[in-house]
Subunit: 155 residues, 2 copies
Amino acid sequence: MGESVTDYGWELSTAVVLFHEAIARRLGLNAAEHKALGLIMRAGPLPTGALAPQLGVGVSAVTGIVDRLEQAGYVRREPDPSDRRRVLVVADPSRAPDLTGIFADLSREMNAFMSRYDERQMATVVDYIENTVRVLRSQTARLTGEGSNGPDRPR
Amino acid sequence: MGESVTDYGWELSTAVVLFHEAIARRLGLNAAEHKALGLIMRAGPLPTGALAPQLGVGVSAVTGIVDRLEQAGYVRREPDPSDRRRVLVVADPSRAPDLTGIFADLSREMNAFMSRYDERQMATVVDYIENTVRVLRSQTARLTGEGSNGPDRPR
DNA sequence: CGCTATACTCCAGAGAAATGAACTATCTCT
DNA sequence: AGAGATAGTTCATTTCTCTGGAGTATAGCG
């Protein structure tokens, strides 16, 4: 049966989410810790305070999150030379093998089929991804902002 | 600078995850509730017990999860006619507008650029998605199975 | 050089959600 | 029918993580 492209998109999105969850489980991290580690690995060393808003928690909670990441060996705390009140959270390279190990297979398998694409096809894929990312970001912003934070329900 | 396709993939995956989180926040659901609702909407009515393994929690926890989803109006409990011990969790259509509202804009924006693709390009996109999903699923399975559940760390 | 603001940590308390055992109802097998 | 298995709920307890306020150290302004 021909699935619509919308269905394909939904499947992809589900697969991505499950993959992320599997990584977190494998690393022994909860959602907040995993997210924090992702931010640090993508954006480089970050001061503790910068993590709080992105994780959606107060600064005092970040202390605990970084504590756990540090304990597990994924990050280190380093003093910021330019402001000694600040603590920079940096990825601990000693854990890098764990991470690259996880992504090595992924990259290999992705390359296995992507390498068959010619230039034109590659351009199409890139266009698809770029536009999808753009749309997802705008939709995320819409959902996040846009007045009422969903149905109010006592929690 | 030209980003590699790997980088694009990473961006896409991040955008997807953030979008999912935004939906959950908007619906007022935590991760487990959101996941359960997703399963029910995709797979149709499910007995409570079938949710437990997929959510990675015990059956008794599912009771609470379904309670909260029901309270919020996203699902209903219905007796299974063929086995009266069983309770089927079905999506509540009265909430459908909320959900479709969220996805209407997304679909429209996705179509806005995808409609420009010709047949050949569309085939490329579908191929990319299908293969990516296949790879992600196999990698998820690898991470989930594969002996040791990550670094053991007292929790 | 004070004074105020900022960055982070510590701690006690609160809240959310999962666990596991006990219990009820129902099904299935013989 | 009776025994045992299965589905789901309830409840007490435990675990985990966040919050918010207090405390310490440093920065920057006048």
